[in-house]
């Protein structure tokens, strides 16, 4: 199957006045269309840095990155932004909904940047909110919802533009187990429908939903395992 993400000798450095830290070192990974990949590893191993680069929020310092067969490692902020919208959906641990916007408006936001007409936006937002079973709270503000509901809104926002990839950064980290389970099931469902999912997690339980697990340590890929081998 065709690669959607491919990194070659990817390197990321963080430099301060006194020290230079290697956050990612020689990362070579390939993620195919329709895959569900989990990235695991201890805190500070570079998981989130990798996810940011994959998500086109940041550029690597060295190496190549092909996204949808396009070399994007040297892309400008503007080019990355263009490529990001519509192609990548983000789900965060702390939901990151805009407090001043209602659920409906939060979900609508990516469509606004895609400049879709109002009626089409409405159709898509209603569809996705209904699917996430949160339509009845569409006019509520994020603080008026439970954590699980907020994360469902965040997922709705991530998928509303039907992106090729969803990047999830510890999506269940701030949720209780029941809500966490629900979110994972939703992600699995989306993956079954063909959406590629890359998820950073600390939880082996969540990682079990993935087809493949990439383990990072000190900025390097230490192992890549097919899910079944770790299945509990």
């Amino acid at each position: 199957m065709e690669n959607i993400i491919k990194t070659t000798h990817l390197k990321k450095l963080y430099t301060t006045e006194e020290v230079e830290t290697t956050a990612l070192d020689d990362i070579n990974i390939e993620i195919k269309k329709g895959e569900f990949v989990a990235i695991m590893g201890p805190s500070g191993c570079g998981k989130s840095t990798l996810l940011n680069i994959i998500g086109l929020l940041d550029n690597p310092d060295d190496g190549q990155y092909h996204f949808l067969n396009e070399e994007v490692a040297k892309y400008s902020e503007r080019q990355r932004s263009q490529l990001r919208k519509g192609n990548i959906g983000f789900v965060f641990q702390s939901f990151n909904l805009i407090d001043e916007l209602t659920c409906y408006e939060n979900v609508e936001l990516p469509l606004l940047y895609l400049k879709l007409p109002a009626d089409e936006r409405k159709k898509k937002v209603v569809e996705v909110l209904t699917r996430m079973n949160i339509m009845h709270r569409k006019d509520h503000f994020p603080q008026q919802l439970s954590g699980g509901q907020q994360q469902r809104v965040a997922i709705a926002r991530a998928i509303v533009a039907k992106p090729a990839v969803i990047l999830a950064d510890e999506p269940t980290g701030n949720l209780d187990s029941a809500n966490g389970e629900e979110v994972m099931r939703l992600l699995e469902e989306l993956n079954n429908e063909g959406t590629t999912i890359v998820m950073v997690t600390h939880s082996p339980h969540d990682a079990n939903y993935a087809h493949r697990i990439i383990n990072l340590f000190d900025g390097k890929v230490v192992t890549e395992n097919i899910r079944e081998q770790f299945h509990v």
């Binding site: 990001r84 983000f90 990151n96 916007l101 609508e108 926002r157």
Partner: protein
């Protein structure tokens, strides 16, 4: 998308009302002040532009030079022949030349009798030069009648009520003359943006008679009382006329004694009519004019106040940017490009500016009546009648919004989503430094304005209280009627019987007026009688003038009633005159021969220099003499404690003397005060707008310090747990801001010193700026700032540390 921005804006407005309130209040107060100042400045700049031919109308003014070619007298008025002569000599370039002569007269219609100041004897052609709107009758025809008169609508109402004024007569009384005039036309009141505003235009015929007929009038080059205006032909160049003025003068003015050509001692100047109000402050003017400097000062104040308000917006928006950082990060993650984020924050600030404008318009309409009253000008504006204002204001909103939003939107749009979402986002020190610099700038402007207020007040105080060299208190001045002057000795004896009167005397001019008369002087120096080329201003006085005004005699003696020759040969000089003539001392001058115009005599006394004119003018050489004519005023020194009843007594006497005339008087002290009104107004305006500038700066400081305290809540909690006192915490939070105020002070001192020194230079006598003024201004700023900051920091310092942790 715009709707999305609007929603976020309105929800933030609801969520952070205090922050929004500070921003909107600051901006709206700043805008309201700017609108008021704009209306005023626009009015000032509009003077005489309403004349259809304003670009072709010029006023002819006249200057006189001394031997060194320096101007020693510059009058806005000229002599009567110049108008008609220019019209005939420059007929190729001139379409018209007209004259007006302003004088105070008494007008009477039946029972109604008033003293009128705005009566102008005018050539009939004034109506083809100036665009004065007629309501009834033909103006030019009216003034062609020897008894013809044109009156303004409001004067028609004053004298004739609702009756038709056309054909009605008014009795005009001026010294011993009395004539009947007929109203033959009515004009609309002359707009208040005119450098002179006539209430009555009267045929020039009467003046011609006063001068002894047309031919005599055309020979008189010495009576420079005529406002003379020329209208250039379309397409002509004023330079053509200017170049010919020296020849023109030499051609018409006879070569006098000594044989000097007229152009070597006098000249004519042509002033565009639209320049008069703001640029012409000559030794004589039809009405007092304003000053372009005031327009600059007011414009600068408006600009700075608005700038302070914009800076507030920038500072508060960037200080609170961490609150918006997540939103920016997310928007970028979801595909927003930088320009979208800039657009969003720009639209927010333009919207804020629009809301502020609405509030500012409300404030403006509330303040306008007071401002109009204060400036004495009609500044009203109606947005719907004058759509240009509406467009102007919308442009204003855009500009203010874009200035205020420029820095915050560039700053906020530069946030990197990775850092924001990761939580490693920090506002860079460069931005913090820039914000600090803006606060320094704000306080520098405020402190400059405080210094300006203090210096203006100090200078005004100095002018009002400076020892003028004579006793200005309790002197009432009344008009000197023929009946009184002719019988002065008897009448003054009678007045002196009254217990409230200390002394009485007559004068051609009295202190507080201008010194514009002068004559040809020669004086006895080492080489005998020598022509003296200085302007020696003469005052014609009666005996007792020095006593009435308490003018000190430093050498020789006062005029003596017992010596009849004093009335024909004696001169008194002031010390400046002695020096200017070239005598070594006051004593040296005594007994020396002096010729002044036709009078041949000698110096009997020298008076100490005193301020005859306001402190805007330096003391100039003066000569006093006793003639038997040209008395215009009676000066009466009142006894302390008897002022009111003595004025009542004088009123009775004056009415008995001149039954049909209104009684009016002024005091020397009041007249001096009036001359400082313009400075007093500048002082009040400075005070008012300095107050506003400080208010806006304080609002900003309040917002910033509240925010800083909020940011440091956890730190304060930790410090308190570790044993910090309330005082040390207040100091901790306050000192950073106070440092900025102090930097502002250091920046303000040289600028304020330079600016106010330049202002003081316009006075002949002024205070010097003391360090105390800067000290006081700095202290005011520090006290206000301390009060503002401490209200916030004390609250934070008193918070229970446990709560501080909870909030984090």
């Amino acid at each position: 998308m715009l709707l999305n921005y609007l929603k976020i804006f309105l929800r933030n407005l609801k969520k952070q009302p205090a922050y929004m309130f500070i921003n909107i209040l600051g901006l709206s107060v700043g805008m309201a002040s700017s609108i008021l100042i704009f209306l005023f400045v626009q009015h000032e700049l509009s003077y005489d532009k309403y004349h259809e031919k304003s670009d072709r109308i010029y006023r002819v003014s006249r200057s006189f030079f001394n031997q060194n070619g320096e101007v020693n007298l510059y009058l806005a008025h000229t002599a009567p022949p110049f108008g008609p002569l220019m019209k005939s000599d420059f007929s190729e370039d001139l379409e018209q030349a007209v004259r007006v002569l302003n004088t105070n007269v008494i007008l009477k219609s039946g029972e109604k009798i008033f003293e009128e100041e705005k009566v102008y004897f005018s050539d009939p052609e004034v109506f083809s030069v100036f665009s004065w709107e007629l309501v009834d009758g033909n103006g030019e025809e009216a003034l062609n009648f020897p008894d013809g008169m044109v009156i303004s609508e409001s004067m028609a109402r004053k004298y004739f009520g609702d009756a038709d004024p056309i054909g009605k007569s008014l009795e005009l009384m001026i010294s011993q003359h009395q004539v009947n005039l007929q109203v033959r036309a009515v004009m609309k009141d002359i707009p208040d943006n005119s450098h002179f505003r006539a209430d009555f235009l009267v045929s020039m015929e009467m003046v011609t008679g006063y001068f002894g007929g047309y031919d005599e009038m055309m020979k008189n080059y010495g009576s420079n009382q005529f406002g003379t205006y020329i209208l250039l032909k379309e397409g002509s160049n004023i330079k053509n006329i200017e170049d010919q003025i020296p020849d023109f003068l030499n051609r018409h003015i006879q070569v006098g004694e000594g044989g000097a050509l007229a152009s070597t001692w006098t000249s004519l100047h042509l002033w565009p009519i639209t320049d008069i109000h703001l640029h012409s402050n000559l030794d004589s003017e039809l009405e007092p004019n304003s000053n372009i400097e005031h327009v600059y000062i007011y414009t600068a104040i408006a600009f700075f106040i608005l700038l302070i308000a914009c800076v507030n917006f920038m500072n508060l928006a960037t200080a609170r940017s961490s609150k918006r950082a997540l939103e920016v990060g997310l928007r970028k993650t979801l595909g927003a490009e930088k320009r979208f984020i800039i657009g969003q924050f720009m639209s927010e600030s333009i919207l804020m500016s629009l809301i502020s404008l609405v509030l500012a318009l409300v404030m403006t309409s509330l303040m306008l009546p007071f401002f109009e009253n204060f400036t004495g000008k009609d500044l009203s504006f109606n947005l719907f009648e004058q759509p240009i204002y509406l467009f102007g204001l919308l442009g204003f909103v855009l500009v203010v919004g874009m200035i205020a939003g420029s820095y915050p939107s560039l700053f906020l749009s530069s946030f990197q989503p990775v850092k924001v979402l990761k939580g490693t986002f920090k506002i860079g020190t460069i931005h913090e430094k820039l914000r600090a610099a803006l606060v320094v700038g704000q306080f520098a402007i405020s402190i400059i304005l405080i210094v300006a207020v203090l210096v203006v007040v100090h200078q005004l105080d100095f002018m009002k209280n400076k020892d003028l060299g004579f006793e200005k208190d309790r002197i009432a001045v009344l008009p000197a009627y023929e009946e009184l002057v002719g019988n002065f000795e008897n009448l003054s004896q009678r007045f002196l019987q009254h217990e409230g009167i200390e002394s009485v005397s007559l004068g051609s001019r009295v202190p507080s007026g201008r010194l514009l008369d002068s004559g040809i002087t020669s004086a006895e120096l080492k080489d005998g009688l020598t022509n003296i080329d200085i302007r020696l201003s003469d005052i014609h006085v009666s005996h007792g003038y020095m006593e009435t005004f308490g003018i000190e005699i430093v050498a020789g003696r006062d005029f003596d009633f017992q010596l009849p020759t004093d009335s024909t040969q004696a001169f008194l000089l002031n010390e400046s005159a002695v020096r200017a003539i070239g005598w070594t001392s006051a004593e040296d001058a005594i007994g020396k021969s002096l010729h002044y115009d036709a009078r041949r005599g000698y110096v009997v006394g020298v008076v100490k220099d005193f301020h005859f004119e306001s402190l805007h003018q330096p003391i100039i050489p003066m000569v006093f003499m006793i003639p038997d004519t040209r008395f215009n005023s009676v000066a009466i020194r009142l006894k302390q404690g008897f002022e009111e009843e003595t004025i009542a007594y004088l009123k009775e006497e004056w009415i008995a003397l001149k039954p049909d005339f209104p009684f009016s008087y002024y005091t020397i002290e009041d007249k001096f005060q009036q001359q400082y009104e313009s400075e007093e107004k500048v002082g009040v305006v400075f005070g008012f707008f300095a107050g506003i500038a400080i208010l806006i700066s304080v609002l900003g400081l309040f917002g910033l310090s509240a925010f800083a305290a909020e940011q440091r809540t956890k730190e304060i909690g930790v410090r308190k747990v570790l044993g910090a006192s309330v005082k040390s915490i207040v100091l901790l939070l306050g000192k950073d801001f106070l440092k900025l105020v102090l930097f502002g002070f250091l920046l303000a001192v040289p600028i304020a010193w330079f600016a106010m020194n330049s202002w003081l230079e316009s006075f002949a006598y002024s205070v010097s700026i003391s360090w105390g003024v800067f000290g006081l201004a700095g202290l005011i700023a520090v006290v206000i700032a301390t009060f503002t900051i401490s209200s916030q920091s004390i609250r934070s310092a008193l918070t229970n540390p446990v709560d501080s942790f909870k909030t984090n």
